[in-house]
Symmetry: C2
Subunit: 199 residues, 2 copies
């Protein structure tokens, strides 16, 4: 690899990293290209040289994150024996990896606020479906193993996705330790409930 190509990759990564932080902190729309210019030191033109558009830059980040997160989980998954342990493991990865699915909120804003142009909507919808499938598979596994009660798998997956999304909102200003404890308690509640006797 060239010195030039190497430099180029580093620059692209530097832009992507800075943009990721900003999108997470400020959301999609509130993050301007100018913001990224200020943080990276790159010029506007250079950002557009590496990414076709703001939309393209954002999608790049989402796809990258989604890919990395799944990959990392699948590498760890086999180390957990029970489905219950997996649930705690997922919660842990969510907190430790990126303190709350960081781009989910920005992605949601993006998905809901932007003009419905191009294939972007389709790609993001696929992402949500993938998340739900991910949880459905887990919950179904737990039911088959007898760890979970029989119930509506699809709805439980939505609830779990919603719970984790909500928790990420609530713990945006928390420390990692606080967030982890919150997530763990939430998983415990999701598993056992808060009622003193089950109905």
């Amino acid at each position: 690899m060239n010195k030039k190509q190497l430099q180029s990759e580093l620059t692209k990564k530097r832009i992507a990293d800075a943009a990721r932080v900003l999108f997470i902190q400020k959301g999609y729309k509130a993050t301007s290209i100018e913001d990224i210019v200020e943080v990276t030191g790159s010029s506007k033109g250079n950002i557009y040289y590496h990414f076709k558009s703001k939309e393209g830059l954002f999608l790049y980040l989402v796809e990258e994150w989604d890919h990395d997160w799944e990959q990392k989980w699948f590498e760890k998954e086999s180390k957990y024996e029970t489905t219950i342990d997996k649930l705690y493991g997922i919660a842990e990865q969510m907190v430790l990896d990126d303190l709350n699915h960081p781009l989910t909120k920005a992605a949601d804003e993006f998905f809901n606020n932007e003009e419905k142009t191009s294939d972007v909507e389709e790609r993001l919808a696929e992402m949500v479906v993938r998340h739900l499938k991910f949880y459905e598979k887990l919950i179904r596994e737990g039911m088959e193993k007898g760890e979970f009660k029989q119930d509506n798998v699809e709805s439980l997956a939505v609830i779990l996705e919603g719970l984790f999304f909500g928790l990420s909102q609530m713990s945006r200003k928390s420390s990692m330790k606080e967030a982890l404890e919150l997530y763990q308690l939430a998983v415990k509640v999701f598993l056992s409930g808060i009622a003193s006797r089950s109905s």
Copy 2:
């Protein structure tokens, strides 16, 4: 009351109602004054005649909603005997009243994205605290009655607030019926968990 005053109040209400719908649908930043102009037929100047600014218009809606929701709940609360029933009642009111805490998302966007000017931040923070206190009181009551297991009240309140917030996100495109079923299942899970035997 004058014919003029009446007309003025109606206009103000018309603007507020339209703005509420738009903020809910599109979020805070993505809703432009121009959007409100188009929907209401009022002019830009008229909107600024009735509300000092976009910020002021939004805060007006948040405060109005918060007030109405609490009032309505307190009127109903005594009709529920157990704390568990109250939880289901709250979920029901959330769905039926305004299909998902509608302004919470926009308020959150507002709170996180906007420049930290004025007393706005303070007022919104107070709102979140009020929500948590609301849930804390409920959970504490459930524990005192023996309906709930003893646990960290503050954290459970955060989880409950997070759960409801997350559910509202997930059911934005659902019908009222679907949303209600989802919320009810979520409350059931919050109470009893999904595990086949509690740990």
